[in-house]
């Protein structure tokens, strides 16, 4: 009794009940397809979130003022810059020696000797809710940012139309501005804004560029923004006080953590922070954010896969059920086969092969459906098929066939011929 022979018997058994075999396979197919598809959706979601975060700027660290004293709330997932805070319980109220972030700090960070991992440094001042007008149209700009040209690259804000401002413009404190899509639409509508003059809180600025649309980022509209040279904003709107942020771009993804260490060292020295004293600034690490989000999405993907795995399990139980029915229905046939000399192994092999075929063929169809389904956008997510999920789902479906088929097959094989023959 060769393996080919056993497979032929099994195939014959399955074809004798096409509808039933088909429905059983459908159960496994749905399970396998669900695993592949849901894992792909999870992966797609993870990829899209990761790329959204990357859009915020790659390899960037944001240094900002740490306000207040000991009771200052530590933001959720706050940057690693808050490490090593050995704050004394009694220390409340603003520290007298707290220093604000200054342009000099920014220049110190740009020192290639002290901070070799830093690629660019952009000092930033932000003026919130500034009213801009153009020929009677008025719009309150969410954020007016005064900075250096390197800011565009560090925060990944390319222009769609027009150009950027350059270092010369910064030195000359020229009143020029690059505006976001929301601002452009509110003030200009369909008119081309390039070269036109708008008035921001009474100060005239010339529009030189329009940013590419970034899409909404949380509650804040990422396109409701205007970016101008740092001194221009300081002169006319914020004054030459402290910086709100210093955006630092590291050389590459691997040097982000090194850059963070260098920034910490430089600022600690400049701000006179030693030992256990808590720093008066904080550093937000984009990479750390990405990791946090990625692990959250990973959990989400595992959850989806678990749901899919349950449906695969249900499919497996379907196989057991149908095999039990088959064995019961064919008890007499099993008796005949045993009476003419079929060994226990041959009977076991035949029914196990039937169960395995059901699950394997169902699994293959499931892979086809899963991969095909992954070509479509589902709930706004473009699924990304994970090859290991295909292997896993197929492997599991095969194992399910063997495992769930073994009980009915064993029962068939163990029947005594006379009992099987008497069965009606």
């Amino acid at each position: 009794m060769s393996a080919v022979e056993i497979l032929r018997f099994a195939l014959r058994g399955l074809l004798a009940n096409r509808l039933r075999s088909g429905l059983t396979m459908l159960g496994i197919m749905i399970g396998v397809a669900a695993v592949i598809l849901l894992v792909a959706v999870g992966q797609g979601a993870a990829d899209s979130i990761t790329s959204n975060i990357a859009r915020l700027g790659s390899n960037t660290l944001t240094v900002s003022q740490a306000f207040g004293g000991g009771l200052r709330a530590i933001g959720p997932g706050g940057g690693p810059g808050q490490r090593g805070e050995g704050r004394r319980p009694g220390a409340t109220g603003p520290r007298t020696q707290a220093k604000e972030l200054s342009l000099a700090d920014a220049r110190a960070l740009a020192d290639p000797a002290a901070a070799p991992s830093v690629r660019s440094v952009s000092p930033v001042v932000v003026a919130q809710s500034q009213t801009a007008t153009y020929e009677g149209a008025s719009h309150e700009i969410g954020q007016l940012v005064g900075t250096y040209p390197s800011y565009f690259e560090a925060t990944n804000k390319p222009v769609a139309k027009g150009g950027y401002f350059v270092n010369d413009d910064v030195l000359a404190a020229r009143k020029i501005v690059v505006i976001g899509q929301t601002v452009a639409e509110a003030l200009f509508g369909t008119v081309d804004p390039i070269g036109r003059q708008i008035t921001i809180t009474g100060v005239p600025f010339t529009v030189v560029g329009v940013l590419k649309e970034t899409g909404s980022q949380g509650v804040q509209d990422g396109d409701d923004i205007a970016i101008a040279p740092l001194p221009a904003v300081q002169q006319s709107l914020t004054g030459f006080g402290a910086l709100d942020q210093i955006v630092v771009q590291a050389k590459d993804a691997d040097s982000v953590n090194a850059a963070e260490a260098e920034i910490t060292a430089i600022l600690n020295e400049r701000h006179g922070i030693t030992g256990t004293a808590s720093p008066d600034y904080r550093i937000q690490n984009q990479e750390a954010l990405r990791e946090t989000v990625a692990s959250a999405v990973g959990t989400f993907t595992v959850l989806l896969a678990a749901v899919a795995a349950i449906s695969l399990l249900v499919g497996g139980i379907g196989i057991t059920n149908i095999m039990l029915v088959t064995v019961t229905e064919r008890t007499r046939e099993i008796g005949i086969r045993k009476a003419i000399g079929a060994s226990r192994g041959a009977i076991l092999g035949q029914f196990l092969a039937e169960a395995t075929m059901l699950s394997l063929v169902g699994g293959l169809f499931g892979v086809a459906v899963g991969v095909l389904g992954s070509q479509f956008t589902i709930a706004g997510v473009r699924p990304v098929v994970v090859p290991s999920s295909i292997v896993l789902a197929l492997g599991v479906s095969l194992a399910i066939g063997l495992f769930f088929g073994s009980y009915p097959a064993n029962r068939a094989a163990k029947l005594r011929p006379i009992e099987a023959l008497r069965h009606e």
Partner: protein, 256 residues
């Protein structure tokens, strides 16, 4: 190990009993049956229903196990065999013909006949050749590709006979082979059995019809699980008494 002894009898049943159920519901189907059947014999076991003849047949065919007693086929003690060896024994030494044919549905006559050979590990080409030869022997050479539901009862039973003898077993067991057949089909099947007997095959059949029993060389009567009569009609080496002599081959019309 007795030197120059005759080959062991094909069947050697020693004081076999079979009890179904327990206590109040105990039924003693066989109450100590002893029986030997020599090679080439043609035995009919007769008895009313409930006489234990089917129970005996199932034990002879290794489909059931006796409650006590020994049973040897071709000198092999069946009681000592494990599951796998029993399967091999059923495959090689015994051909079983059932009252209700018991062909496997949705398999052609040829495939049904090939099945024991498949389980016996015979190669496909050889299997086909032997199955076709067996079908020809029962006169069904033209219907090899028909499925059981396309065959008449007599034809189905002849396929079953072909399946039983295709492995060239030492013993052909037939459990009321004509019980479900009309007169014409009965004659056909018995004719096949007679000719097999004439060719030297050992046959044990069960029946409750005297007409059928008359074909055998030896008739055993079973009443309430005991042998009450053992009558020899024809000597073992002679042809069966009702062998139909085909025209042109008078006397020695032994097909082979």
């Amino acid at each position: 190990m007795s030197a120059a002894a005759a080959p062991p009898p094909v069947l050697d049943v020693r004081n076999v009993t079979k009890v179904y159920g327990r206590g109040e519901t105990e039924v003693r189907a066989l109450r100590g049956v002893s029986l030997t059947v020599e090679r080439g014999d043609y035995v009919a076991i007769m008895g009313a229903s409930g006489s234990g003849k089917s129970t005996l047949m199932n034990i002879l065919g290794c489909l059931d196990v006796p409650t006590s007693g020994r049973y040897l086929i071709d000198g092999t003690d069946v009681g000592t065999l494990d599951d796998r060896q029993l399967a091999l024994l059923r495959n090689r030494k015994i051909g079983f013909v059932f009252q209700s044919f018991n062909l496997i549905p949705r398999m052609s006559a040829l495939e049904n006949v090939e099945l024991p050979l498949a389980y016996g590990g015979v190669r496909p080409a050889e299997r086909r050749r032997r199955a076709l030869a067996a079908l020809e022997r029962v006169g069904l050479a033209e219907r090899v590709h028909h499925e059981p539901n396309e065959l008449s009862g007599g034809q189905q039973q002849r396929v079953a006979v072909a399946r039983a003898l295709v492995t060239a077993p030492a013993l052909l067991l037939a459990d009321e082979p004509t019980g479900n057949l009309d007169t014409k089909a009965t004659a056909d099947v018995l004719d096949v059995l007679d000719r097999l007997s004439a060719a030297g095959r050992t046959i044990v059949l069960i029946t409750h019809e005297d007409d059928v029993a008359e074909h055998a060389k030896r008739v055993i009567r079973l009443v309430d699980g005991e042998i009450v009569d053992d009558r020899r009609q024809v000597a073992v080496h002679e042809p069966p008494p009702r062998l139909r002599v085909t025209a042109g081959a008078a006397g020695t019309g032994v097909p082979e």
